[in-house]
């Protein structure tokens, strides 16, 4: 089946995904679990001045594990934070660690039962009291709390506005250099790609940092414009060739797209390889997900550029060509044809 005939199918796929994604974004937002919008913490404060040597610290952690096992709860993250001298002076300009105060912080999901945490707390306090290696149990302190992140949305809406404005201005340039039809298809490509990336993130509930969706949308828009410009350049070159003057709009677009398919594919492949290498290299770090998810920003524009753009632009160019023909009172020979006949 030709790309032209498949256009409604691909357009429908995009539309359905984007609409579903927008609904999910509005109702549930993105899965920002990496930023921990809601969670519970189980804190064990200790002061090393008293007597907590390395063995005691290990024992403390072992008591925590036992307490969690007995309360049948499991944590998602464990960190040891070092304490600062209390920031009470206006004259100070920097934090300074006391070197004595530490906090063993376990992070639990927001759904963890408070009763279970209370039970773990009691079990841990009993274990500390019963452990003779802790000479002064009062210097450890156990508490737990429910925490909710307050969203700072300015970065998100400003990012969205920035992308929209930038894409529109860039496509005005495309309109001047390559024609309004090309700019229109480019705009549709950008909108489709940016929204489709966001929609896939929302629908698949892929965990992202709060700042990441706008970053991905921006990268998708940039890649989308780059792919589309490759097509536009070939179209403009083809239009200058007298041999192509007899081609219909759809044939011209189809030929230009076929000629640039390899370039677009290679460009996408290079970017994908680059992201895969970065993902592999940062596999052990928290940055891995950012690179892995950025693959979407290459795959989605590639999908539009290979499947939707050729068929869509054939129709758009055809419509603009017809409009142009209608407005032209005198239809003389095209410059290229004229030049050929002169020769």
């Amino acid at each position: 089946m030709s790309k032209k005939k498949l256009l409604p199918i691909w357009a429908a796929v995009s539309a359905v995904l984007i609409i579903a994604g927008i609904v999910l974004m509005a109702v549930l937002g993105f899965n920002t679990s990496l930023d921990r919008p809601e969670y519970k913490t189980f804190d064990v404060y200790y002061n090393v001045v008293v007597d907590l040597n390395e063995e005691s610290k290990a024992a403390l952690e072992a008591h925590c594990e036992e307490a969690f096992a007995s309360a049948q709860v499991s944590y998602t993250d464990k960190v040891t934070l070092s304490g600062q001298s209390a920031p009470v002076s206006l004259t100070g300009t920097a934090f300074s660690e006391t070197g004595n105060d530490f906090l063993l912080r376990y992070t639990f999901s927001a759904e963890t039962d408070d009763a279970a945490l209370a039970s773990a707390k009691s079990a841990l306090e009993s274990a500390i009291d019963g452990d003779e290696t802790f000479a002064m149990p009062a210097e450890t302190y156990v508490s737990y709390a429910g925490v909710s992140l307050q969203p700072m949305n300015e970065a998100i809406w400003r990012g969205a506005v920035g992308i929209v404005v930038a894409v529109i201005v860039a496509l005005i340039y495309v309109a001047i250099r390559f024609g309004v039809g090309s700019a229109l298809t480019g705009l549709i490509a950008c909108v489709n790609d940016a929204f489709l990336v966001l929609a896939i993130l929302a629908i698949a509930r892929i965990p992202v940092y709060a700042f990441a969706p706008m970053l991905y949308a921006a990268i998708a828009a940039v890649v989308s414009v780059a792919f589309w410009l490759i097509r536009c350049m070939k179209l403009r070159d083809s239009a200058k060739d007298p041999a192509n003057s007899a081609l219909s709009a759809e044939e011209a677009v189809d030929r230009a797209c076929r000629a640039t398919d390899k370039t677009v594919l290679i460009a996408a492949l290079v970017m994908a390889v680059l992201l895969i290498v970065c993902t592999a290299c940062t596999f052990t770090t928290g940055a891995m997900l950012i690179f892995a998810e950025a693959l979407l920003c290459v795959l989605v524009p590639l999908y539009f550029s290979m499947l939707l753009a050729p068929a869509l632009h054939g129709k758009v160019k055809g419509a603009f060509d017809r409009l142009k023909a209608k407005r032209t009172r005198y239809t003389g020979k095209k410059k290229s044809v004229k030049a050929e006949s002169d020769n």
Binding site: S82, S122, G159, L215, C278
Partner: protein
């Protein structure tokens, strides 16, 4: 270009790149007992606190490694369970009666194992039911704190509510003075400017009536830096200007001291030695641009506050390690190294010694980005900016491939190398120009409007796209001309071949 001239230019070009490579990437210790350190530009470049390397120009190995600082704000009427039990234990040592009295003042929240205690009468009733007005005041205070931290525009800053009635704040270790910001942003209450012989005797300068607020006298508070001096600027309404004029009328004879308060806390004072007649006053001191901005934000967000706002106490401050882990930046360098080797392998296999032209261009592009990343204030190395740099790197490689292939086609047709290069560049100049200009416009516009991580990443992308354009259209051509002048077998140098024509 003559061979001698080419060789001389190539040596100079190579030396420039070698020097840039040394400055940008090599760090070492020297001097007696290695006390002195030469830090590379890459080392001095500011880095995202999430990456886990020392931040800032003065950061050395052994300095703090990214991450950030958190503190807990306790509103008046709320204390931590630890503080409660410490206080209770202290009182028990002196008097059981006092301890019982103290215990009777508090209720544990949210349940018998809760992490905080609420003070009866201030935050809750005897049954532990939270006072509605306290909850409302707390909510308003949280909004103010959020506004303050938002205005900092620090990527990674967090404001969280813990156990419904305490505020946990976090600032990444990317400022010169996180301590000042965390501390000052805990001050709540209405802003006031007082004057008098001493701090104790000082009274409100504006004489604000019950139907007025400070906003009727002060429009806003901003900060700025001129000639290296940072200041906080208070802008007055006409009424405010008149009041200031009157209050400082005798300043030329006897200095007048102005006290700037948030709630009941004195934030700063200013000794005035002449009458103030302008609609704004500048307060300088030992401010950096950052602390001036923090202080201005504090005062500006206090203009709408009410005099009975909740006050907060800062406690429980801790250092957090980098979000992505301590080795992330090293992994990014490794990723760059792998990609660089792969890229150069492709260029040397496909274009033989012409690969050196690309190598020099790419190195210049990389060093230019490193120098800009170090020299431009708000730019720093992060995962996002690294990604932007790599994408622009792909663009530079693609542009160079396009020009090389265009010249290859011309050469195959039988043209001389000089003519092939010239024609090849002419044929693809506007294509590359269009591609670069469109991507740069998008990147710079996004950077101008967005904030935080996206702003920096977009700016890096824009800058790198500009350098990619300059690199592929100018530097690459220059390098090509210089290197080709050193050889007589130019076709073999570039791995270009003539098209074979069959004899008729």
């Amino acid at each position: 270009m003559g061979k001698t001239k080419s060789v001389i230019l190539l040596i100079v070009y190579t030396l420039v790149i070698a020097v840039l490579c040394f400055i940008c990437t090599v760090s070492f210790s020297y001097g007696p007992d290695n006390m002195q350190t030469f830090s590379s530009v890459m080392r001095m470049m500011e880095k995202d606190a999430d990456l886990g390397l020392a931040y800032g120009a003065n950061a050395d190995a052994g300095a703090y490694i990214g991450g950030g600082y958190s503190a807990v704000y306790y509103p008046d009427g709320v204390i931590s369970a630890k503080e409660y039990e410490d206080n209770l234990a202290g009182l028990r040592e002196t008097s059981e009666e006092d301890a019982a009295e103290y215990a009777a003042q508090y209720v544990r929240y949210p349940d018998a194992s809760g992490a905080i205690y609420l003070e009866i009468g201030k935050a809750c009733d005897e049954n532990g039911v939270v006072d509605a007005s306290f909850a409302e005041d707390f909510s308003e205070a949280v909004d103010t704190i959020m506004e303050r931290y938002s205005r900092l525009r620090e990527d990674g800053a967090r404001v969280e509510i813990a156990d419904n009635y305490t505020v946990r704040v976090f600032l990444p270790a990317m400022m010169d003075s996180e301590y000042v910001a965390i501390n000052r942003f805990s001050y709540m209450g209405e802003m006031s400017i007082r004057t008098g012989a001493s701090e104790e005797e000082a009274t409100d300068l504006f004489g604000i009536r019950s139907d007025e607020t400070i906003a009727d006298y002060v429009t806003n508070v901003t900060s700025g830096t001129t000639a290296g001096t940072s200041f906080v600027e208070f802008h007055f309404t006409e009424a405010g200007q008149a009041a200031m004029n009157t209050a400082t009328a005798g300043a030329a004879e006897t200095a007048v001291t102005l006290y700037f308060y948030i709630g009941d806390s004195l934030i700063m004072n200013l000794s005035v030695a002449e009458q103030m007649t302008e609609s704004s006053i500048y307060v300088t001191g030992s401010y950096t641009a950052e602390t001036a901005a923090v202080t201005a934000t504090l005062f500006d967000t206090a203009l709408d506050a009410s005099s009975d706002s909740l006050s907060f106490t800062v406690g429980d401050a801790f250092f957090h390690e980098a979000l992505y882990g301590g080795e992330t930046v090293i992994m990014l360098y490794i990723a760059f190294g792998v990609l660089f080797v792969a890229m150069m392998a492709f260029f040397f296999i496909r274009y033989r010694r012409l690969g050196f032209v690309h190598l020099y261009t790419f190195l210049l592009f990389t060093f230019a980005m490193i120098l800009c990343g170090w020299a431009i204030d708000f730019v720093y190395l992060s995962v996002e900016s690294f990604l932007a740099f790599l994408l622009a790197g792909v663009l530079l490689c693609a542009s160079n491939i396009v020009t090389f292939e265009a010249a290859r086609k011309e050469y195959a047709l039988g043209k001389t190398m000089a003519s092939s290069v010239k024609t090849g560049y002419r044929k693809c100049f506007w294509k590359l120009f269009d591609l670069h200009i469109v991507l740069a416009v998008i990147a710079f516009l996004v950077s101008a409007i967005a904030i935080e991580a996206l702003q920096v990443a977009a700016f890096v992308l824009g800058l790198a796209v500009v350098f990619s354009g300059i690199g592929s259209l100018l530097v690459n051509r220059f390098g090509w001309a210089v290197m080709m002048g050193t050889t007589k077998r130019q076709g073999a140098f570039c791995n270009f071949k003539r098209e074979e024509v069959e004899d008729e």
